[in-house]
């Protein structure tokens, strides 16, 4: 019992202390935007920002669970592309079919990852790299390498275009529900404890009698499901299934998780800080867009990839100092 308490305490000190930094950076960036740009705090910018970033938040949270176990999921981008096509095909049947259908497709891809990693004992990055290829191939096959337009007559469009209570985009509302649900799952349930324990030391967790295999299978399946939901958002936001989208999404998701202070070696981290990380990453691009609009700088779309990489590098440099400090403390 005392072991668990010590472990929790350390996690909260570390995680808590570290995520304070993310929230502070987020607040500073928002303040900067509000002071510098007139329309930054406007309803249009807020709602389009949330609508666009909802899919990144969702996949980042799924990725967070995988990384907490010390694994990685490189397939999220192509799985989202695949499920966006599935959602577009199902859209004539309405949102009540298209949403669960596409999420199921994502869960299936995630279960495939889980099978590779847990049953076949294939290293996570190879397994998910293979699924990345498979999902990409699958998306191109079922779509004939074309974008698949959604059915504009169905209620599917209301997801990406409509707003809940005329205020927030539905995508943001659904994302909030998912985030809260997963936060409770990680912090308050035994499954969540097992996920954290695996990252802390898989063999030790298994010896304590925890169902590590089940928990690992769960995180990969969950990440697939989150990617599936992101695919639905993608299709609804752009009005079409996009078989070629999703390139580099895994990088964004990993960056968000790492920015949120989750250690890549697993065991330490939180859902809330991951969301903050995803918002921070999105906000950097939002502000760059505003700067572009003011004509101060002129960045092509290609710079986005460079900046994304540079951002991840920065975070890794910061984190390597932190994790070194943690290691020192633990040893």
């Amino acid at each position: 019992m005392s072991v668990t308490t010590a472990f929790d305490l350390r996690r909260h000190l570390r995680g808590g202390g570290h995520s304070t930094g993310v929230w502070a950076a987020l607040a500073a960036l928002i303040l900067f935007g509000l002071l510098r740009y007139e329309n930054f705090g406007g309803a249009y910018n807020i709602s389009s920002f949330l609508n666009y970033n909802a899919m990144f938040i969702v996949i980042s949270v799924g990725m967070c669970f995988v990384i907490l176990t010390g694994g990685i999921d490189l397939s999220v981008g192509s799985v989202a592309a695949f499920t966006s096509v599935v959602a577009a095909y199902l859209s004539p049947l309405g949102i009540q079919i298209a949403l669960p259908g596409a999420v199921m497709a994502g869960l299936t891809m995630g279960a495939l990852n889980a099978f590779f990693v847990v049953s076949m004992r294939i290293p996570p990055f190879i397994a998910t790299l293979a699924t990345m290829l498979g999902a990409k191939g699958g998306a191109l096959v079922i779509s004939g390498a074309q974008t698949i337009s959604i059915d504009w007559g169905s209620n599917f469009t209301s997801l990406g275009m409509g707003k809940a209570f005329d205020l927030l985009p539905w995508t943001a509302v659904i994302t909030a529900i998912v985030v809260v649900g997963l936060w409770i799952l990680l912090e308050q349930t035994s499954l969540g404890r097992t996920v954290l324990a695996i990252g802390g030391g898989e063999d030790a967790a298994a010896m304590m009698g925890l169902n590590t295999r089940g928990a690992k299978a769960f995180v990969y399946t969950l990440s697939g499901g989150c990617a599936g939901l992101a695919g639905v958002f993608l299709a609804s936001g752009f009005g079409a299934g996009q078989p070629l989208e999703g390139i580099g999404w895994e990088l964004s998701a990993i960056a968000s998780v790492v920015v949120g202070g989750t250690l890549l070696t697993g065991g330490l981290g939180s859902v809330g800080a991951t969301v903050a990380g995803a918002l921070l990453l999105g906000l950097v691009f939002n502000i760059l867009n505003f700067e572009n609009g003011r004509g101060v700088i002129s960045l092509s779309a290609y710079w986005q990839m460079v900046i994304r990489g540079a951002f991840l590098l920065l975070v890794i440099l910061l984190q390597s100092r932190l994790s070194r400090a943690t290691q020192k403390e633990l040893s």
């Binding site: 293979a130 191939g137 699958g138 390498a145 990839m305 994304r308 991840l312």
Partner: protein
């Protein structure tokens, strides 16, 4: 060949599986694929296989240290985007010979530096290889596109194109290049101090460090060689096409290279660097691609087939270990 040499030259069980697979694919093609037994088919396959093999050999060294390099495709794009920029510049037009040397040397040097960057992140900062190389995986290609404004660069430059279209004794130039690099790297792995240190680091990093091996330098070396070879492969791709498209050069090459290395018997845990196995793996990957293409099966399905090959190869490795 005696027993101790087997590990060094990769004559191990993993290779027999790959060898059998190769024979099966060739026999299948002889029966099913029209015009398979033609010199033209051989040339096409050699020139396509060469880029995979060159990158796969570098990847083998990185995997031997227990790492992985996801950035090879992006580094290919960076080198491939740079070369035409250099030899189409005014300086190179005025001085063809130094221009050509710069157009080949500088991109490879920059690719090499990318590898040093990867190696520094992995060794000095202790960043997981997947994440460390993910940085260049995404921003390397972005840089290449920024350099070229995302434009397709087409050119006509016979001496540069020799890299991709030249023939020596009737066979594609890059095929010979593969052979030379393979001999060189096989020697490095089996006989040089660096090679021994490389395998020691991959076999047991702690033990290697405790016995005084400069682990950081060895790792940086492996990533740098891998990236340098990827740069060379990028130049070859550009030379073959007489055109450079930063969005497409080396796209998904990291997967081909990893697959080739693994099929060739490289253990993902590190400690083994079968250079010849990597070439065998590259031949298999290329032949699978060719077989599907020649029989009218879409590229997209080929992606799924490749995924299945990777999973099968790694699974067999794991199963043998247990």
């Amino acid at each position: 060949m005696n027993a101790p040499d087997q590990g060094r030259f990769a004559l191990d069980p993993a290779r027999h599986g790959a060898g059998i697979a190769l024979i099966v694919i060739v026999i299948f093609n002889l029966i099913v694929t029209p015009n398979f037994f033609q010199p033209q088919t051989l040339f096409v396959n050699i020139s396509q296989m060469a880029t995979i093999a060159i990158v796969a050999m570098g990847m083998t060294l990185v995997i031997a240290t227990g790492g992985i390099d996801l950035s090879v495709g992006a580094v290919m794009a960076l080198a491939g985007a740079l070369a035409p920029l250099i030899f189409l510049s005014e300086f190179a037009q005025a001085n063809p010979v130094p221009g050509l040397i710069a157009a080949i040397g500088l991109p490879i040097l920059i690719a090499f530096c990318c590898g040093v960057f990867n190696g520094l992140l992995v060794s000095r900062l202790g960043v997981q290889p997947i994440v460390a190389t993910l940085i260049l995986f995404i921003s390397g290609r972005g840089l290449a596109q920024v350099l070229t404004n995302g434009n397709l660069q087409t050119f006509s430059h016979p001496s540069f194109s020799y890299l991709g279209t030249g023939r020596v004794m009737g066979l594609p130039f890059q095929g010979w290049l593969v052979l030379i690099i393979a001999i060189l790297l096989s020697w490095v792995v089996a006989r040089s101090t660096f090679g021994r240190q490389l395998l020691a680091v991959g076999g047991n990093e702690r033990a290697a460090r405790l016995s005084g091996i400069p682990v950081h330098r060895v790792k940086i070396g492996a990533y740098a060689i891998c990236a340098g070879l990827a740069g060379l492969a990028g130049l070859i791709v550009v030379a073959i096409n007489s055109a450079s498209d930063a969005a497409r050069i080396g796209n998904l090459m990291e997967l081909d290279a990893i697959a080739a290395a693994v099929v060739g018997g490289t253990l993902l845990q590190g400690g083994r660097a079968p250079i010849l196995g990597a070439i065998l793996g590259a031949i298999i990957i290329q032949l699978v691609k060719y077989t599907l293409l020649a029989n009218g099966i879409a590229d997209e399905v080929a992606l799924i087939a490749k995924a299945a090959i990777i999973i099968a190869a790694v699974y067999l490795q794991q199963a043998r270990k247990e």
